[in-house]
C-alpha cells in the first residue's frame, strides 16, 4: 500500500466524451499515450478497491492540466493522471535522471552556486554527449542559464507594511534562472505602492508530481501551504510570476492535500498579470503607463490555460498605449517542464513543438511574451531568440514614464 492516497471520486462524473483526449497535446501527436480520459478517470475507476495496475504509458502525460479545463463535467483529470504516475513510479522505480529532474530546486541551488561553470559545461558538446550516455538527457536539448546572483540572494524582505500587501512566490525558475523577472515584479508593485514580502518557500512540487514523486511533492505542498497560510491570515495576496507554480498552488494543493488550509491558500493565489488585472478592475492600478510602440506575440503556456482565467497577460499589456499584442494561439510548446529534457521523450517533445515552431517562425512580431520559463526554453530552441515575461514589459512602460518625466 502506498504511503499516500488519493481520494477523489470526480471520475464518477466522466461521460467518456473524450474532450480531454482531443485537447491533450500528447494525444495529438502520439498513439502510444492512452490519453487523459483513459489514464485519468478510467484508470482510477478500473483500479479502485482492486489490485493496482502499472501502466507505463502514463509517463507520457506531461501533467499540463489542459484536460482539466476541457472537461465539461469538472472531473479532476490531471489529479487522477498524477495518481497514475505515482503508482507507476512506485511500481517501476524512478531513474536517477528523473529523480534529479524532479528536484528542480536542489538542481537550481547547485547549478547557480557554480553558475559560470555550469552554464559553460552545458554548452560543451562532449560534456553533453557524456550526459546523454549516462543520464539520458539529449545532447541537442538547450538548457536555461543559471544565475550566480540568484533572486533569493538579493531579495530577503520578509514583511510588508503597506495597506495592500503581497507575498511573492518566486518559484525555482525565477529564483535561479531569471531573477530579473522577480525584480521586475517587485518594481511594478513598487510603482503601485505595494510592498512585497518573500515568504519561506520550497519548490511548488510540479516537477515532483510530473515524475511520480507524490510523497516528496505532498511534503513540499504542505510545507508551502503552512508558510503561505501565515501570510494569507495576515491579509497578504500571494502572487507568482510562474504559471506552473500558480497552477499548482491553485489546483493541485487543494486537490492533493484535501485540507481546509490548502483550500484557503488556493483562493488567494494570483499570477502576476492576473493580479494586475485585478488591481485594474478594482480601480487601483497605477495607470501612468508610457506608450510603447512594439508588436508582441503572446504564447499561452498550458499551465496558464489550465487555470481557466483567460489571458491576463494580454488584458494587462493592452493597457499600455500603442502596444500591440496578439495571442499566437500556437498550442503546446512541447517542452512540458522536465518532459523535454528526457532522451526517450525528446522526439515527442519536438513533434508537439512543431506546430508552435511553424506558427511563431512565420510571424513578424518584435518578440514573444510568455509567463513560463520552460516554454521560453523551447521557444528559444525552436523558434525565436527574443522571449520576454509580460511583467518585464509592464516594468519598462512604467519606467519610460519616469524617464519622460525627467526629460
Amino acid at each position: 500500500m502506498p504511503e499516500w492516497s488519493v481520494i477523489d471520486n470526480s471520475f464518477d462524473k466522466c461521460l467518456k466524451c473524450n474532450a480531454c483526449t482531443v485537447i491533450c497535446p500528447v494525444s495529438g501527436v502520439s498513439l502510444d499515450f492512452g490519453g487523459p480520459k483513459h489514464l485519468g478517470p478510467e484508470y482510477k475507476r478500473l483500479t479502485d478497491n482492486q489490485i493496482t495496475v502499472n501502466e507505463p504509458s502514463i509517463e507520457l502525460c506531461t501533467l499540463c492540466g489542459t484536460c482539466d479545463r476541457s472537461c465539461p463535467e469538472g472531473v479532476h483529470v490531471s489529479l487522477l493522471t498524477a495518481y497514475g504516475k505515482a503508482v507507476h513510479a512506485e511500481k517501476s522505480g524512478t531513474t536517477l535522471r528523473d529523480l534529479t529532474l524532479s528536484r528542480a530546486e536542489l538542481v537550481g541551488k547547485l547549478a547557480s552556486a557554480f553558475a559560470p561553470v555550469t552554464n559553460k559545461v552545458m554548452k560543451i558538446k562532449p560534456a553533453r554527449k557524456l550526459m546523454e550516455w549516462t543520464m539520458h538527457i539529449p545532447a541537442e536539448r538547450q538548457f536555461p542559464e543559471y544565475k550566480y546572483n540568484h533572486f533569493k540572494k538579493k531579495y530577503k524582505k520578509k514583511e510588508a507594511t503597506t495597506e495592500r500587501k503581497v507575498a511573492f512566490f518566486s518559484g525555482c525558475y525565477t529564483t535561479y534562472n531569471a531573477p530579473h523577472v522577480g525584480e521586475a515584479f517587485i518594481k511594478v508593485m513598487e510603482y503601485n505602492g505595494i510592498e512585497v514580502a518573500l515568504p519561506e518557500q520550497k519548490c511548488c512540487g510540479v516537477p515532483m508530481f510530473a515524475n511520480g514523486q507524490m510523497k516528496q511533492g505532498l511534503k513540499n505542498a504542505s510545507s508551502n501551504t503552512n508558510s503561505l497560510l501565515l501570510y494569507v491570515n495576515e491579509g497578504y495576496d500571494i502572487v507568482t510570476t510562474c504559471s506552473s507554480c500558480a497552477s499548482s498552488l491553485k489546483k493541485d494543493y487543494p486537490a492533493f492535500l484535501q485540507t481546509e488550509e490548502a483550500v484557503k491558500v488556493s483562493k488567494n493565489i494570483y499570477g502576476s498579470e492576473e493580479y494586475l488585472r485585478k488591481l485594474y478592475e478594482e480601480g487601483e492600478l497605477n495607470m501612468s503607463l508610457a506608450s510603447l510602440d512594439e508588436k508582441a506575440g503572446y504564447f499561452s503556456p498550458c499551465h496558464m490555460k489550465g487555470q481557466g482565467v483567460g489571458t491576463p497577460a494580454i488584458d494587462v499589456l493592452e493597457l499600455i498605449p500603442d502596444y500591440k499584442v496578439e495571442d499566437m494561439d500556437a498550442g503546446c510548446c512541447g517542452q512540458c517542464g522536465t518532459f523535454g529534457f528526457k532522451k526517450e521523450k525528446y522526439p515527442l517533445s519536438m513533434r508537439i513543438g512543431n506546430g508552435m515552431r511553424q506558427t511563431i517562425a512565420e510571424s513578424t512580431k518584435d518578440y514573444i511574451v510568455t509567463e513560463c520559463g520552460m516554454c521560453k526554453n523551447q521557444l528559444n530552441q525552436l523558434a525565436v531568440e527574443k522571449v520576454k515575461h509580460p511583467i518585464e514589459i509592464i516594468k519598462k512602460s512604467y519606467e519610460s514614464v519616469l524617464e519622460k518625466d525627467r526629460l
Binding site: D12, C14, L15, N49, E55
Partner: protein
C-alpha cells in the same frame, strides 16, 4: 416439415439451474438437449447480485439453506474458479438493528459450521472506507463474488464439449404427452420461425419464473410466485468485500463487488408476469435510502443503471400430500409422475444461484432413477476450465487495463484471442476495456449478431457509458469485418440501445442523466438516427 431430434432428456430453461443440469447430465453420459427462449441466463440467472453466499445470510432464518450454501460455496470455488473472486464478506451491525440478533447469528453460524471471525472496527474502516462509521460490530465470512455471466458461459461450454445439445433463442410452444407420459416438445426458432420436434422420455422444467407457463403446456397446475427484486450497478467498485447488514434478511442490505463495479440491492415485490422486469423510480429511491444504513454516502455515488429479475418461489397448493421431493425450503424438486401422474415430467425451481449445482445434482439423481441408470454425480469434483491467462501480461501493445481484463477472462479462448489481437488490437469498449479480439471471437461463435449477447459474454457496454460509443463501434466493425448485414447490425443496435436506456432511465439523475442525454445526442446527431427510428449501419 419439422426437424426431429431424439434424446434422453430435454431441459426447458437455460438459466443457471438448467445449464448446470445440462453439464451434470453430460458428465453422467446422458444425452440431453437444453432449450432456451432467448440467450442463456435471460431470466433470473443474470439478474441477481452475483453473490456466492457463505450461508451467513440464512443462518438464523433457514438453517438448512445456510448449510447448503456453505457447502456449495466451497465446491464452486473449486469447480468454477474462473468466475469467482475470493472477496470475503462482512456482516455489519449498525445501531438501528437489534442487538440480540447478533448473538443468535454468531451461534447459528457456529452451529452450521460457517466460519465467522470478528474483526476490529478500525480494520473494517481501513479496508472499507465507505462503510458507516457508526457500525458497532463487524464479522468476516467466506462470502465471495461470482460472475453469473461467465459461470453460465463456462458451464454451458463445458457441457457442449462433453456432447450436450443447446438451442438458444428457441421458444417451447408445445409439450406433447401420450398415455400419461411425456413424448416430445416443439421448439420454434425465434429468428427463423422454423420448428423442431425433440423427443425424450424425460422433460425437465427449469424455466424459473416461466415455470407455471411451461407446466401448463403439459397440463400440470403449478404455483410459482415471482418475486421481483431490483438491483443497481454503482459506477465503480466501492468495496473490496461483500458487505451485508447483520440483521434478518431484508431489502437493500447487500453490496457485492463485481469486477469494476458494485452491485447493490435488492427489493422484493410479487409480480404477475414472468417477464416483468419493469423498474420503478420510487423503488430505486427507497432502496438507496435504505442502503445508506451501510454506506451513508450512497446517494452521492453514481448509479450506472438498474435492473430487475424475479425469484421463482415455489408454493405448495393447500395442504396436499407432498408427493414431490421438496428438498429444502429454498429449492423444490417436483416429480410430476408422483404428484399428478405425468410420467417423465420434472420441475426444478426455487433455490439460489449459490446452490445451482446441488439443485442440478438432485434433479439428475431423480432423472437417473427414472431412466434406471446408476451414474453418480461428478460436478462436485470436476472443474470447468479456468479463466486465468497470465500470458496476456506480456502482450507488447495492449493497455495495462485491457491486459488485466484478459488475464482474468480469456481462459480456454486465449490462443484465439491472441491471434485475433495480432490482426487488430483495438479496445472497442473503453469503460470495460473490451478488445475487438474478444468481441470478434463471440461474433464468430454465434449464428446471429446480437449486441446484448455480446455484452453478456464480454462486458461490452457494461460500463458508465452503457454502449453510447461502443455499441455502434461494434455494429460498424461487425459489418465491415465480419460480414454481418447492415440490416442485422441496425436491428441489433436499436434493440441494444433501447435495453441500455431502459436501465439508465430509472436511475437517471446527475451524471447518468447527462450520460443518457449524451447517448441520445450521439445517436441522433452523430449517427443520424431519429428517436424511435431505425439505424442504418
Amino acid at each position: 416439415m419439422r426437424e426431429k431430434f431424439e434424446t434422453e432428456v430435454v431441459i426447458i430453461g437455460g438459466g443457471m439451474t438448467g445449464t448446470g443440469l445440462l453439464r451434470d447430465l453430460a458428465l453422467r453420459g446422458i444425452k440431453t438437449i437444453l432449450v432456451e427462449q432467448f440467450d442463456l441466463g435471460h431470466g433470473t440467472s443474470t439478474r441477481n447480485h452475483g453473490l456466492l453466499h457463505s450461508g451467513g445470510r440464512y443462518a438464523v432464518k433457514d438453517k438448512e439453506a445456510a448449510i447448503e450454501c456453505y457447502r456449495e460455496n466451497i465446491i464452486l470455488k473449486k469447480t468454477v474458479p474462473g468466475s469467482i473472486e475470493h472477496t470475503g464478506g462482512l456482516f455489519v451491525k449498525i445501531p438501528e438493528d437489534p442487538d440480540d440478533y447478533v448473538h443468535k447469528w454468531v451461534n447459528m453460524c457456529n452451529e452450521t459450521g460457517i466460519p465467522v471471525e470478528k474483526i476490529s472496527l478500525e480494520e473494517a474502516f481501513m479496508q472499507e472506507p465507505y462503510l458507516n462509521k457508526r457500525a458497532e460490530a463487524v464479522y468476516r465470512v467466506p462470502d465471495a463474488s461470482v460472475d453469473p455471466f461467465t459461470m453460465l458461459t463456462d458451464v454451458a461450454a463445458d457441457a457442449l464439449n462433453r456432447g450436450a445439445g443447446l438451442l438458444t433463442y428457441h421458444t417451447v410452444s408445445r409439450i406433447e404427452t401420450k398415455n400419461a407420459e411425456v413424448s416430445y416438445v416443439v421448439a420454434r426458432d425465434r429468428y427463423t420461425g422454423v420448428e423442431k420436434e425433440i423427443h425424450a422420455p424425460v422433460i425437465v422444467n427449469a424455466s424459473g419464473p416461466w415455470g407455471a407457463y411451461i407446466a401448463k403446456l403439459a397440463q400440470i397446475p403449478l404455483k410459482v410466485i415471482n418475486n421481483k427484486g431490483m438491483l443497481t450497478v454503482l459506477n465503480h467498485r466501492i468495496n473490496k468485500q461483500v458487505i451485508n447488514r447483520l440483521r434478518m434478511p431484508g431489502d437493500a442490505d447487500i453490496f457485492v463487488p463485481a469486477h469494476d463495479v458494485t452491485i447493490f440491492g435488492t427489493t422484493g415485490r410479487n409480480v404477475e408476469k414472468p417477464d416483468d422486469t419493469s423498474l420503478e423510480r420510487e423503488e430505486f429511491k427507497q432502496m438507496v435510502e435504505d442502503g445508506k444504513a451501510l454506506i451513508p454516502n450512497l446517494s452521492n455515488i453514481r448509479s450506472i443503471r438498474a435492473f430487475s429479475g424475479s425469484r421463482p418461489l415455489f408454493e405448495e397448493e393447500g395442504e396436499k400430500d407432498l408427493s414431490g421431493r421438496n428438498v429444502t425450503r429454498g429449492m423444490a424438486l417436483l416429480d410430476h409422475e408422483k404428484r399428478e401422474g405425468l410420467k417423465g415430467f420434472i420441475t426444478i425451481t426455487g433455490g439460489k444461484l449459490t446452490t445451482f449445482r446441488y439443485m442440478a445434482e438432485k434433479t439428475a439423481d431423480l432423472i437417473c432413477e427414472k431412466l434406471g441408470l446408476h451414474q453418480g454425480c461428478l460436478t462436485q469434483e470436476i472443474a470447468v476450465p479456468p479463466r486465468q491467462s497470465k500470458e496476456f501480461l506480456k502482450h507488447p501493445s495492449l493497455p495495462a487495463l485491457a491486459k488485466k481484463k484478459l488475464c482474468s477472462w480469456a481462459g480456454i479462448n486465449n490462443s484465439q484471442i491472441h491471434s485475433n489481437l495480432e490482426e487488430d488490437n483495438r479496445v472497442v469498449c473503453e469503460c470495460e476495456q473490451v478488445t475487438w479480439a474478444e468481441i470478434q471471437l463471440y461474433i464468430n461463435q454465434s449464428n446471429h449478431f446480437n449486441l446484448e449477447d455480446l455484452r453478456r459474454r464480454t462486458r461490452l457496454g457494461m460500463g458508465p457509458c452503457q454502449g453510447s460509443y461502443c455499441y455502434h463501434r461494434t455494429a460498424a466493425l461487425a459489418v465491415e469485418k465480419e460480414g454481418v448485414s447492415g440490416e442485422e447490425a441496425a436491428e441489433a443496435l436499436t434493440d441494444g440501445m433501447d435495453k441500455r436506456k431502459k436501465g439508465m432511465n430509472v436511475v437517471a439523475h446527475g451524471a447518468t442523466d447527462r450520460q443518457l442525454k449524451m447517448m441520445e445526442g450521439v445517436t441522433a446527431v452523430s449517427l443520424g438516427i431519429k428517436k424511435g427510428g431505425k439505424a442504418h449501419v
